[in-house]
């Protein structure tokens, strides 16, 4: 007798995802949506869509949502969580949105220990706008605004968000994961689940940084992009738990 092992989660709407073929945004959407369903919090969750390729995530997550100005997702989340403490509030942000223009809002939400969860998609580039350099771009990485490759002397090194946020008291849980194979996707899911679990328990600010891909702007086939995220990105952005209040 046949039993369903895997199917599309009810945490996502029927709307077709707007992402390019093979983009990890889609995989991560599933992980977040499955988590909201499995923890039974979908109907009290409020998603904050940021500005980036995931700007339309307010159409994909099957819960209430707000669309934030570029970089301000954590400010919206703070504003909401403070007036609706019983709700689950999370942001979904790219590296341009979180690490560049939104670094202040994110750091201060973390420092205040806001009870929110941040899903941070690090794909080392600006996808939506057509492949400009991100603060997370790798040394030597060619982008439309670093056409000879990122030069450390000129642009500095890729910014290490998890390493930086690990120094902030208000952070309850912080892990960097990847999505380049089933094993890591499952680990990513567990990290996301733990982050939301901590929010349910009012433990403080939680963030999961996911080393992701942008096949189109990297100019790679989806499969090659997965390899690049493993071979080129992971060494610069080592995976692991950077902070866990329970382990302190």
């Amino acid at each position: 007798m046949w039993e369903t092992k895997y199917e599309k989660t009810s945490g996502l709407t029927d709307k077709k995802l707007s992402y390019c073929p093979g983009c990890t945004h889609g995989i991560i959407h599933k992980l977040v949506a499955e988590t909201l369903v499995e923890l039974g919090i979908l109907d009290r969750s409020i998603a904050i869509a940021s500005v980036g390729c995931s700007v339309f995530s307010y159409e994909f997550f099957n819960c209430d949502a707000q669309q934030a100005p570029h970089g301000r997702a954590c400010a919206l989340a703070t504003g909401i969580k403070r007036v609706l403490p019983e709700n689950i509030v999370f942001t979904y942000q790219g590296d341009g949105d979180l690490a560049s223009i939104g670094i202040a809002e994110t750091i201060h939400a973390a420092n205040r220990g806001e009870n929110i969860t941040v899903i941070f998609i690090n794909n080392a580039i600006y996808g939506m706008t057509g492949g400009q350099m991100a603060p997370t771009s790798l040394i030597g990485q060619k982008t439309t605004t670093s056409q000879d490759g990122r030069d450390q002397a000129h642009h500095g090194s890729p910014i290490k968000i998890s390493e930086m946020f690990a120094t902030i008291d208000g952070v309850a849980y912080l892990e960097r994961v990847a999505a380049y194979d089933p094993k890591h996707v499952i680990k990513a899911k567990n990290a996301i689940k733990k982050a939301f679990q901590y929010q349910i328990e009012n433990k403080g600010f939680t963030m999961v940084e996911i080393v992701s891909t942008c096949p189109v702007n990297w100019g790679m086939k989806p499969v090659d992009a997965m390899k690049w995220s493993k071979e080129a990105m992971e060494p610069v952005f080592p995976l692991g738990v950077f902070k866990d209040k329970e382990e302190e």
């Binding site: 707007s18 390019c20 073929p21 390729c53 939506m128 189109v216």
Partner: protein, 186 residues
Amino acid sequence: MDAKNIKVAGFGGQGVMMFGQILAYSATKDNINGLWFPSYGPETRGGTANCSVIVSDKQINSPVFKNADHLVAFNFPSLVKFEEHMAENGLILYNSSLIDEQKSKDNVLVIGVPINDIANELGNIKVANMVMMGAYLELTKLFSDKTIEVIIKKILGERKADLVEINKQAIIAGKEYIKKLGVKYA
């Protein structure tokens, strides 16, 4: 020559934008005015792409036009979307490899060219848009072979210089196809 309003449309990847740009570049080279305006933005991702081209020996005013003199449709959705907006004595060229036979209508000449098949015969599906270019030029006589060749070389540049030949062949093949059809336009 009075201004020609040209609409080029198809799937992303069919060389639609390049087709339009070649016309605008050619106009510029021939010291008349060329204007090219693309659909842009993420919504073009995967979806259909189109561009408007205006060539004229006078100053080009409105970049926007209601009716096209020429429509070059690389796929069916594009044909459907734009065929309603044709000017008097307009020309519609469509890709008959992907679109079933279409009838001509009053004041609009409608011609299909099996560009994918012809390009495949030439051994490179990527030059289908140049087959269309050949057919288009044979009918409209807008630009000389010399002009087009210069522009194609310019666009392909050093790196793709080896592709010039096949592109030229494609253009010739397109022209031949029209000649065989024996239709004339304007």
